[in-house]
């Protein structure tokens, strides 16, 4: 899991439960946050928000004194800030999600909070707000987030090896996608399972979580030959996501080669 997602970011968490406070803080620090401020309710959180500058706000929906909804609407109206806000709820009701957006939040995640659901929500809110991803390791466009942190880490920031890996991704992925498309049209579920599995490997090095999640779903459904009606739209989704990722990585390759020439 990426540990640079929140690099140099300051996060405000509004949460009344002590255990949840610790858990969320722990995950945020693991994701690279430079500092995490905790407030026990909306009023306390508003005070902190006026005193400091935050890059992301997490708000529990149910809190005493002032709940997450009221707090979010206060940020949007009274404090007129467009900081990304992620709601956290223990409720499984779909209504709750809708209410989050109505009150101005950008995302809503369900408890228990895990490194997976939190980082996915953070990636989404960052990619929806243009220009918020300042890290060279995270490329963002059109709701797609390409995470290169693993490639940088394992290569020891060796730019020529990074270029080679990006190029390999761009060479390999179209083959996997073509094979998935072909197996789908032939109703060859075993083949579809294998090509999805292979794509999953590729996507766990250069991480595009939107593609990864769809590919994992395809892998599972093709293996068990279930939910077959969902497969065509999932495959189309992966192809569409790849077009965006392809463009982002193409640009990245050019930047890398310019960097290497100028050095």
């Amino acid at each position: 899991m990426s540990n640079s997602l929140l690099q140099d970011r300051i996060v405000l968490v509004a949460e009344d439960n002590a255990i949840s406070q610790m858990l969320v803080k722990h995950i945020l620090l693991k994701l690279g946050a430079s500092s995490v401020d905790i407030a026990a309710n909306g009023v306390e959180a508003s005070q902190k928000f006026t005193q400091n500058k935050y890059d992301v706000v997490l708000a529990d929906l149910q809190m005493p004194v002032m709940d997450g909804f009221e707090f979010a609407s206060e940020i949007r109206t009274k404090l007129s800030s467009n900081v990304p806000i992620i709601g956290m709820t223990a409720s499984t009701l779909h209504e709750e999600d809708k209410k989050c957006y109505e009150y101005g939040m950008n995302e809503c995640i369900q408890k228990p909070i895990t490194i997976e659901n939190l980082s996915s929500a953070i990636q989404k809110v960052f990619s929806a707000t243009p220009g918020t991803s300042s890290s060279p390791l995270i490329l963002v466009s059109d709701g797609i987030c390409v995470d290169l942190s693993m490639v940088y880490e394992i290569s020891g920031n060796d730019e020529s090896y990074i270029s080679l890996m990006v190029q390999t991704f761009l060479d390999t992925m179209p083959n996997s996608l073509a094979s998935m498309r072909q197996c789908l049209s032939e109703k060859n579920w075993e083949g579809l399972y294998q090509s999805a599995h292979r794509a999953k490997s590729t996507l766990s090095v250069i991480k595009v979580s939107e593609m990864f999640n769809a590919v994992v779903a395809i892998e599972g459904y093709a293996k068990s030959a279930s939910h077959l009606d969902l497969l065509p739209s999932l495959v189309a989704e992966v192809e569409r996501f790849f077009l965006v990722a392809n463009e982002l990585l193409g640009k990245k390759l050019k930047e890398l080669s310019n960097d290497m020439i100028s050095k």
Binding site: M1, M150, E153, I154, T168, T172, Q194, S201, T202, V205
Partner: protein
């Protein structure tokens, strides 16, 4: 210290190779289990890292062949996207020494590699 890596997905193989080389290991890459077996005819690595789902010879077949040779006490780490309990069990029953699921954490991989190498060299010394 030489490590044989059997992995059919090119980017994954590059990633594993890069991490291990940075840690000072010599790495031999094989694109599937069959190629790994061919390499093993002429080379004796200190450790094998293998994927499971590969064309020609799968990782599980590779483990069972390598572990059936009593003269070679080669430690094997499975690095696979198949994390289900039955696959993990099968790999261990065939003699795998460790199991890591993808997406993998590079630091975890190197820690596990070093730990296994120490264990296996330790057991040689004790004999």
């Amino acid at each position: 210290m030489k490590i044989l890596v059997a992995e059919d997905e090119p980017l994954m193989l590059m990633a594993i190779e890069a991490k291990l080389k940075n840690e000072g290991f010599e790495v031999i890459g094989a694109q599937d289990g069959r190629e790994a077996l061919k390499i093993l005819e002429t080379t004796t690595p200190d450790l094998i890292i293998t994927d499971i789902l590969m064309p020609y010879t799968s990782g599980l077949e590779l483990i069972s062949i390598v572990k059936s040779d009593p003269n070679k006490k080669l430690p094997i780490i499975v690095l696979s996207g198949l994390g289900q309990e039955d696959t993990v069990m099968e790999a261990f029953q065939l003699g795998a020494d460790d199991f890591i699921t993808k997406p993998f954490n590079p630091t975890e991989l190197s820690v596990r590699v070093k730990r296994l190498m120490k264990i296996s060299s330790g057991s040689i010394k004790r004999k």
